[in-house]
Structures are given as structure tokens and as C-alpha cells.
Amino acid sequence: MAGGVSSSSYYSSSIMETLFQRTLEDLIKGLRLQLIGESAFVSKAIEEIRREVKSTDPHTKSTALQKLSYLASLHFHDMSWAAFHVVEVMSSSRFSHKRIGYHAASLSFHDDTPVLLLITNQLRKDLASTNEFEVSLALECLSRISTPDLARDLTPEIFTLLSTTKIFVRKKAISVVLRVFAKYPDAVRVCFKRLVENLDNSDPQILAAVVGVFCELASQDPGSYLPLAPEFYRILVDSKNNWVLIKVLKIFAKLAPLEPRLAKRVVEPICDHMRRTGAKSLMFECIRTVVSSFSEYESAVKLAVVKIRELLVDDDPNLKYLGLQALSVIAPKHLWAVLENKEVVIKWLSDEDPNIKLECLRLVMAMVSESNVVEISRVLVTYSLKSDPGFCNEILGSILCTCSRNAYEIIVDFDWYVSLLGEMSRIPHCQKGDEIENQLIDMGMRVKDVRPELLQVARGLLIDPALLGNPFLHRILAAAAWVSGEYIEFSRNPFELMEALLQPRTSLLPLSVRAVYIHSAFKVLIFCLHSYILQSESMTSSFPDNLVLGVSELVLKRNMLEGSDLTTCEAPSAHCSEGFNPSNQSYEDLSIENGGDRTINHGQTSTPAFSENIFTYDSIINLINQVELALGPFTGSHDAEVFERTRHILCFIELIKGEITECLVQKGKTLESEEMKASKIIKLISDAFSEELGPVSVSAQQRVPIPEGLLLKENLDDLETICADFQVPASNLFSLGSPYYGEEVGVSPFGLQNKEESEPSNEATSLLTEHRKLHGLYYLAPEKNEIVGNDYPPANEPKLQVNPKNDTEDLVKLTVQSLATNKKPNHAKTRPVVVKLDEGDLVTITAKRPETKDDLVSGAVREVLVGSDTRTATSQRNPSDKSSSKRSKRKGKEKLNVDCSELKENLGDSEKLKHENPSSRKNKHSINGKERRHKSTGKIGEEGEENGQKGKQKSSHRHARHKASHRADAPLNVVSQTPVIPDFLL
């Protein structure tokens, strides 16, 4: 083998290398033998190549490079180190070597490869070669690795090749234009006319290539190519080549929505093709074009649906699948088409092909309406029990998604839906815990009438010990626990719930969920105590004396002074919120008490279990003991949440334990003041807990004005780096250096995941508290946060806490008003009220309209097509603007604007930016920036770094382009002007 022999110094090493060098075939054979294992063999081969590629002999060198290309392409080895050798081999005069070099270049070069600068001349030479295969090599390479510099420098050569008589070269030159335009938009001015001329070419290969190029160009910005519609129309009517027709159809699918007159004209030829063609690909393309872009032409749609039907009943699964896809495209506008094929769709829900099943599922969900949702969901849930885990979850996911759409638009019977969720949770394969969790809580907050049923469902989930073992259900159980705490007043037997919340098997839960359990137990406890007090107050009978307890209570209280501090800190905060609006608070007090009474009465009448003696002295004491016993071990917990909450509840118990017994025993006697204290505390906490939690508008955060002195950058990249640093230590920080932490993670991967999600927000909370000190009025009341914790969407009560003195008063008023009007329940239907917030609640972030970005290519194209008159419309930039300092400023502004406009789209804000005009851009930027800065902050905060990064990428991309245009020193216009379409077509 070469390795051994080449070391001998008898002959010139290059001869030996040449004679004994392993060829690519040898290498492959060696790899296949795998005597020493593949990776060892490959690294040995690479070593060999490293030596051989330095050879002065071109043959040795190119063979080495070929081997390297092979290893890079199929064994994924980096070959960027050989870039210079690639350049050398490319410049070989021998075709076989040159080919190896070009192949290696297109395989390994990218925009940052430094040696790219060296190949411009080589490419130029080869592009001008008389050998068409050499030209072809250079073009192929250029189509892969072209950079702005290469594209700029080689534009003249490409231009020449666009009209060469050699078809073989010309079609490649046409195709390469796409990449050249993308990299160097000014090439459009040079090459575009010649490109258009090729549309008239009779050669099918040329036509296919040029139509392909226009298809790509039009998909980026269709508007610019409207003037070429007559050309495309001619091809659509005349061409017999299916490849070309498909591409032209794709172009028209883009153009037609922009120009109704064009659509009217084109729809007939498309239908003709659909009727006549024997090629399924063309037929399908016609169908797709009609259903996506010509859906308002009734007859065309009807024809398309007939053809879809043909596809659906075909034996070929591919056609079936595409037919179903076409149906789902048309479903939103013409549901009848789906309904017509209902049987087929449902039949194939049980097809063996997962694609077809999935597509059918989507169509079934598209057919769901208010009237049939119950029936369809029933069928699907039953079906999901029989299907494989993956598809089962697809089914559940789509039910959840469809039913929750637009704030549960299609749900009338919420009790049914809630119990359906309960049922879903018990499906063995169910992995939709997060979604079900969200919906349970969301409905609890939005739909008042469903709460009793919700509590029943939650109860069912909580008391079933079998469910605790399934990690996929933990999030659902968290929601159930939260529901049971929040809506405990609807419970028939709170003691039973308490038992469920404290059952021993809860040790299987991740700590984050346990924290919710503990907090819910707190709420249940408060509820029981409060009910007990109300009940005992209304009772006239007194109990025999029990002085012993009174004494022990006093002792205990002294011991737990620290604890009482913790507990009472909630009380003053409750006072605070009272203080702002005393009348409101007292009203609420009243209503709550009434509510409490009502529930008790209700219990008395309907169930014997909830009779007056349910909250007896014994039961209460038992309850307290039970809580103490169950939570005792948690005082040593290493999880901050669990620890904190356990402390709260235990300290509270210590505080009131004695008194609660006392107050009943000594009622109306000497210790009256003590009694008052305990029951007052209970009442206050109970009030705090019974404060209703509402849904939060998506845009709520944006409405909060930025406090002065708070600097929020548009770009949160810095934060990302900070957070990245925090990620690791944070987990330690919150687990208090638990030695068992690792073990617990092992038990509950979900807990960890949840932790990671909540930690950044913990970081934010500390920042928030600081701001709250200054501007507390705009944030949620502290006790709210306490209740809600990090796991649940915080309540939104903007009607409270309005500081009239603040300078941003107006904005807040606006917020309150808009919320108030939108919160108004609509009693029109028998359907229970679903609290909807403003439009921000409903607008989905996905509704991103295609951006009409100022694409330099299309700008240039418009200019070429429409003529140079548009140039006058655009203001050329001020000369002063060209100074570098100003330019950078402008960039900054523009960047800001990118973020803003993106935001605007996301939020669906009613406020509209007027269409931007390059001439007025400069002024507007500053205004927009100011107006919207505060809006951007919340958004970015919510969406996380990902969004920010995206925005940044995009803007940097734009900058790059701007740079290019600066270099060319010919600013392009982007006037959105409807291009003139010659009348002979329309």
C-alpha cells in the first residue's frame, strides 16, 4: 500500500505516490472490507490524503482531492482545510482534474471561505471557454457557491451566455441567474431583459429553465412579475410540456390573487388543462391552483372537486393523499366539498398509511361545528383508544385544538367538554397533559358556569391514586389540584378533597406539582375554617369549657412568632387592596359571605353529607392534624416552592390552631378579642383566596406603560447570554443544594423541565418586585402572585390599582375601558358566558401576512419592467445621509422599525402604520420608534429570545443587502405601485 512504500527514498516520492497511490476505488474497497473498523480506516485515509494532496503531481493531487470529496460527501468529514488545494486543482488544464476540483469546490466552499477571492479569474476564464463542458462546470459551481463579489464580477459573462446558441450551456446560464440575482441584485438591470427574451424561445429545455427561474422569483415577490403575465399566458395556452405547464401554473397561483382581471382570464385555460390532461401531476397542479388561488370561481371549484373525487377513489395512496390535501386547502372556503366526500374521509381515517390518516383527521376536524362537536369528539375519542400511541395523540391534540379555538367558540355544553377532558386524561396513551392542563385552568377562569362540573372532574382525577403513577398526567393533576383549591366552594365534601391532595402517593409527583398540591390544600383548609367560623357564628349554642387548649395555644403562638410574621404578611397586603377602593372591597366582602352562606345552604338541601355538622369541631381539628401530619416532612424539603408553601400553611396552622378551638369554646366570654383575631385572619385570607382569577389578555403586558428610568433594549441578546450563564447554577440555587436533587430529577423528568421553564421567570420576578416598589400599581397585587405561583397564568385585574397621579394615566384608562367593554358577557345564547378579552386574546401569532419587504431584486425587476419613471417617485437619499455616521444611525432606526412592524403584525394591533414610503421613511422611523417602543418590550419578553433572535437575523440580513446597494451606489426604489398590465390580455 502507498503508505508503506512511499517512505522509501529510492525514487522520487512523486513517482511512488503516483504509482502506488490508492485510487478512489481502492479506498471504497478498503472501506467495504472494514478490516480495522470504519472510523480508523477513514482517519488513516485522511492522513494519507493530507500528504498526497500536497504533491506537485497534478494527478496525485486530484486523486487525493477526489477521495477527500468522497469522504466529505458520504462520510461527512470536514474538508474545508483543503480549500487552497481545491483552487489549485480547479485551475488544472486537464478536464478530468478540473472536474474534480470544481466538484470539490461546490461541495466545500461557502460564503466565508477565504480562497473564494482567488477563483474569480479562473471562473471567468472557464465561463468564456470554448469547451461547453468547462463552461458548464463553472456555471454549476457558481450556482452553488456564488457570493456577492463573484456574482458582481461575473455578471458580464453570464449576460453573454444567456444568449449563446449552445442549448446545453444556455439553460444552465439561465438557471444560474437565480443565484446571481439573489446575491447581487444589480445584476437584474443587466440580465433581466435577456432573461425575459428567453421566454420566447421555442426550445423546450430553455423554456423549462427560464420558467423555473421565474417561478422561483415570483414566489418571493409576485407583484413585480405581473407585467409578464401575457408571456406566461401564452405559454400556458401553447405549451405541451407538462413540466413547463406546472411551473407556469405555480406562477399564476401567485399572480392571480393580485389582479382579479388576470384571474378571470386565466381560469378557463386552467380548467381546460384539468379536463384534458392525462398526466396526474399536471391535473393535480391545476386542482391545487384552483383551490388555492381561484376559489371564488364557482365552476372552476366544482370541476376541481370532481377531479379531487377522482383522486380520492384512486387506488394509488399518493393520489389519495394529495386529494385529501387539496380538500383541506379548500375546506375553509368551501366546506361543502369536504362534506360531499365525508364518507371517504371517515373511511380512510383507519387507513394503514399514517399520512392519509392524519390528513383525514384534519378534514374531520374541519367539519366540526357547534352542532356536531359532541358526536364527532365521541367517535374520535373512542377511535383513539384503538389506535397506536402516535396517532392517538394526534387525535387528542386535534380535538383539543379545535374545541379551544377562538375561546371555545364551538363549545355550547361546557360540562360535557370538561368531562371529556377528564376522560381524555385517562386514555392510556395520552400525552397531551400540558394542553389539557391549560384548558382546564383557562376554562375555570373564563367560564363561570362550568366551575362546579370542573371541580367534579378535578375531584375524580385527584382521588384516583392510580393516576399519580403516570408522568404524562402530572400536569393535568396539577391543574386538577389548582381547580380544587380555587373552586373549593363548589365541593360537596372538602375533606375528601383534602385527603386526596395529601394522599401518600403524591410522593410520585414532581416537586413543582406538589407545590401546587400543597397550596391547594392551603386553600381548602382556609375554606373549611372559614365555613366553620361562619357556621359557628350563626349558631347560638355554646360548648363546654376547655381552658387547657387556650393555654397551650398561647405558648405555641409565642414559639411560632416567626411563622406568624410570615402568615400575617398576607393580611396587610389584603388590606392594601382594600384601601384603594374601600367601597368595592366591602361589596366583595358581602358577596363572598353571601356566597359562603349559599353554598352551605345548598349543601344542606341537596346532600346530607354537607349538613351543618360537617364542619364540626372534631372534623376541623382532624383536618388540621391531618394537614400538619402530611406536610410535616416537607419542612425539610429542598425545593424552594414546596418548602415555602409548606411553611406558609404550617405557620398558619400554628397561628390559629389554638384560637380556633378557643373561639368556639370561649365564645362571647373573656377571650373575645383573641377569638376575633383568629377569625379575622381566616376571613382575610379567605377573602384573598376567593378573589376571582380572570384570564389575561395576550396584549395585557403591552398596555402597561414603561416606567420611567427603566431601560429596555429592543434586542434581548444580552439577556440570552446572561440566562445561559444562569441556567446551570439556577437549579442549584433553587434546590438549596440538595444532595438528593439528582435522584429526584431521575424520578420526575417533568419536574426538571418545568423548573427550567420557570426559572427565567423567577429571575424576572425579582426584577419585577423592584419595579413594583416604584410603580407597584401597574402590577398584580402581591397576594395574587402568591396564589397563582409561576405555574399558572397570573390574574389580570387592571380595574384595581389605578394610580391617578401617574403621567400615563390616559393609557391606563384606555386599558380599563377596553377591557371593561370586552369583558361584558353576552347573554344572547344559552351557552354559558365565556370571558373573552380584547382582540389581542384571540389573534393568533401565526397570522403573519406575507411581508412586502423591500426586496432589492423585485425592486430592480420593477424598474426594468415598468420603466425608469418610478425612479422619480423615490426620493434619493440626502447627500448628508451618506456620511457614515448618519448611515449607521439610519440603520439603527431601521432595525427598530423591523421589530416594530413585526410586532404589529403579531399583535393585530388596530393601529395601523401607513404604508411606508421610502421618501418619508426617515421621519416616520423616529415617530414609530417612540410610539411603539413600550409595546415591543412586552412582546419580546413573552416570546423569549427566539423571536428576538429571528428579528435580529432578519434585520442583519437587511443590512447586508443595504450594504450591497450602497456599494453599488444606486439606491433602488421599492414603490409599491401596481404595475400596468397590457390591455390586450385583459
Binding site: Y70, H103, K171, S175, R179, K250, N318, E352
Partner: protein, 166 residues
């Protein structure tokens, strides 16, 4: 536009991989692996489409065909027609068959360079340039001729002739 052409055998070994976006090599390997993971789990006689958004990002489609021990895979975006892409796989396989006379996996293994020649005639920078296998074959034969000619001009390497001339 076409984003990638892949051929892999039923064990998941790549036999041909060409990406028309610039993708770093380790990422390429990952993509091929995940594509194979999807393909090998699919039954015979099901549709030839795979929803590829999770692997290749938004607006990407994948069609594949299974011939003997090989999967032929095309990844593309919404400017191509799915059925046309299936036809194109057919064209590619036909061309290979013409080129190698009853093509089998081994032909692909040992003819790295030639397969790329074929591929480059059909696809060009992500665009479909030629759909007739006869046209492709014509070009491929020309190129092979040119290659062997350029080699035979100088069958003995320069350094060797120089050494003899002394």
C-alpha cells in the same frame, strides 16, 4: 426549488447525498439519519410522501421511492409538484439503469464520480434542468469521453516522462 437529493440503502448508509442549500457536513449527517429514521418505519404500499417540516424546517416536502435495497429521496419546497418529483426519481433511476445496465447498489457505491455527473445534468443549483434520460445520457457520455481523452493525452504522468527524458 429542490433542497436535497439523497440515496441511502435500507441500512441507512448514505450512497449519494447532495444538498443545494449550504449545510454543514455534520448537519447533513444528522438530516440523513433522521430521514432514514422516518423512512425505515414506513410500511410498503403506503404513500411516498413524508411530512418533513420537522426535519427540514417549514415549507419542505419529501418524496421517496424504494427500489430493491435503496431509498431515493428528494426534498423540495412548494415551488415543485409532488408527483412531478416522483417522476423525477423515476428519471434518475432510469438514467442510472441505462448507464450501468441493471443498476444495483454496488454500481452506486463504486461510481461516485459518474453518479454526480448524472445528478448534475438533471439538477442544477436546486432547479430541475433536464427530465429526459436520453439527453442526460448524451451529456454524461460526452463528459466521460472528454475525461478519458484528457487523461490519455498524458497517460504517463509528467514527472515520470521527465524522469525518462533525462
Amino acid at each position: 426549488m429542490i433542497r436535497a437529493v439523497m440515496v441511502m440503502n435500507t441500512q441507512g448508509k448514505p450512497r449519494l447525498a447532495k444538498f443545494y442549500d449550504s449545510v454543514p457536513v455534520d448537519k447533513q449527517q444528522e438530516l440523513i439519519r433522521s430521514v432514514f429514521g422516518v423512512l425505515c418505519s414506513r410500511a410498503e404500499n403506503v404513500s411516498n410522501f413524508v411530512e418533513a417540516d420537522s426535519i427540514f424546517g417549514p415549507d419542505s416536502r419529501l418524496v421517496y421511492k424504494h427500489y430493491a435495497t435503496l431509498y431515493f429521496v428528494l426534498v423540495f419546497d412548494s415551488s415543485e409538484n409532488e408527483l412531478a418529483m416522483l417522476d423525477l426519481i423515476q428519471v434518475l433511476v432510469e438514467t442510472l439503469d441505462k448507464c450501468f445496465k441493471n443498476v444495483c447498489e454496488l454500481d452506486l457505491v463504486f461510481n461516485y464520480s459518474k453518479i454526480h455527473t448524472i445528478l448534475d445534468e438533471i439538477f442544477f443549483g436546486g432547479q430541475v434542468l433536464e427530465t429526459s434520460s436520453t439527453e442526460v445520457m448524451k451529456a454524461v457520455e460526452e463528459i466521460s469521453k472528454l475525461e478519458s481523452a484528457s487523461n490519455s493525452i498524458n497517460l504517463v504522468p509528467k514527472s515520470v516522462s521527465g524522469w525518462r527524458g533525462r
